[in-house]
Amino acid sequence: MNYKKDFPIFENNEISYLDSGATSQRPKYVLDKIQEYYNNSNANPHRGAYSLSIESTEVYENARNRISKFINARYKEEIIFSKNASESLNLIAYSYGLDNVKKDDEIVISIMEHHSNLVPWQYVAKKTGGKLNYMYINDEYELSKEEIESKITDKTKIVGITHVSNVLGTINNVKEIIKYAHKKGAIVVVDASQSIPHMKIDVQDLDADFLVFSGHKMFAPLGIGILYGKKELLNKMNPFIMGGDMIEYVYEQDTTFAPLPNKFEAGTQNVGGVVGLSAAMDYIESIGYENIEKIEKKLVKYARKELSKLDFLDIYMTPNEKNHSGVISFNIKGVHPHDVASILDSVGVCVRSGNHCAQPLLRYMGLDSTCRASFSIYNDEEDVDKLVEGLKKVYNMFEKYIKKG
């Protein structure tokens, strides 16, 4: 099955797009649904008494319902719309973290967190007098059971963990981490940004307390993100952003807040984005996660094999294929990733280079940056071949200048 043809961007660009970990492309189906909304149903939801506004409200709330089912949330009001995963994580840090972490309490995160699941926790720790502790990776770029169990303690109040590393592609066993953290009395925040485009997420099965993701990495438009939170936690939390539509009564000096989910959705919301996200979920379900996993696993296996043949490459990935999602970081020994990415660009291969918003991880690995290729269903073996050819070209250009030793 050729899914590339579902994505108009590939009709307009002759590229091997290997940066879906940064943002995915969007299928025509999603783009059409967004346009359809703006053509037929656009008005400010929750505001007007006229039928078009009511229709817009319905579209918005139906999408919430649809999204709650997609991740198997118990209640639809457990789905809060945000701008992206970063905003969702900030909401949790400010509204839950600041009020629930006390002096000497511990927040535990992994060294492979994206800055968005790291910097807010530094802030909470500093503000509350809590401690921020890290779970480090082993030689296989994974978190060992021993490491997890030695870092999560009786003092731990919050555990922040990414489901899939955006640098290493390592799939963390979040279900086990959550089970252990709950035993210790901590709540767990899961960053599913890099996993939900590739694998089925069931928040009840995971028993996640909070789970966040961005729409734009899973075929939805930019600017829409999700915060899932257990109802009993969300109910106890204070609002994060205040303003219109999140209130019940506003007096000159006091305000009572709206119930969930509106309490956390101040201001006019991104209905077009919500429609796009809901459509992206339709698209994923039309292919099926099982199918997606099958296609991507085969492709990643091929990429692992072909890249491993290049002896001038350092590759940073777990040897355990079953714990590895569609992200591969690598460097040409002695050549800076920016040069590699620029030259790959000149042969039509798009890869990310830099620190991938994960400076503490790269520092821990003794690196300042890497190249990163990440895969999606529209990629094929030809894209991998073009990447390999491009890397050979870079190596040939640099070979005689690379310092050996």
Partner: protein
Amino acid sequence: MDEMYDEIIMEHGMNSYNKKKLDKCDFCEKGHNPNCGDDITIELKLNGDVIEDMAFTGYGCAISQSSTSVMIDVLKGKKISEAKEIIKTFIDMIKRETTDEKELEKLEEAIAFRNVSNMPARVKCALLAWHTMEDLLEKNGK
């Protein structure tokens, strides 16, 4: 692209003789591009108002490293006032604000970076050293 990575940029970018520490320096300044991780420190030794010696340390891509090294070659031995003019011309060239050939002659070997003006993603790499040098002079009242 292949023209961009020419002999000058490769030699200066990968194995520069200017990449060292000076025994004694008057001023030094650190510059970095947080998004890509390019990180350099420029050292400067003056003799009156003449740049007597310069060197740099740090790491980054071939464009940022070679641009730093070539800048040092060009600015060494120049008066501060001349150096400032050359820096301005280089920045203008990269930003495509000047194409005046006569003006660009001032840049000597640094004209090799002209093509970077066609590579928006690499402009920051090429300019890092020159902006850092600008800051160094400004901060020290030169």
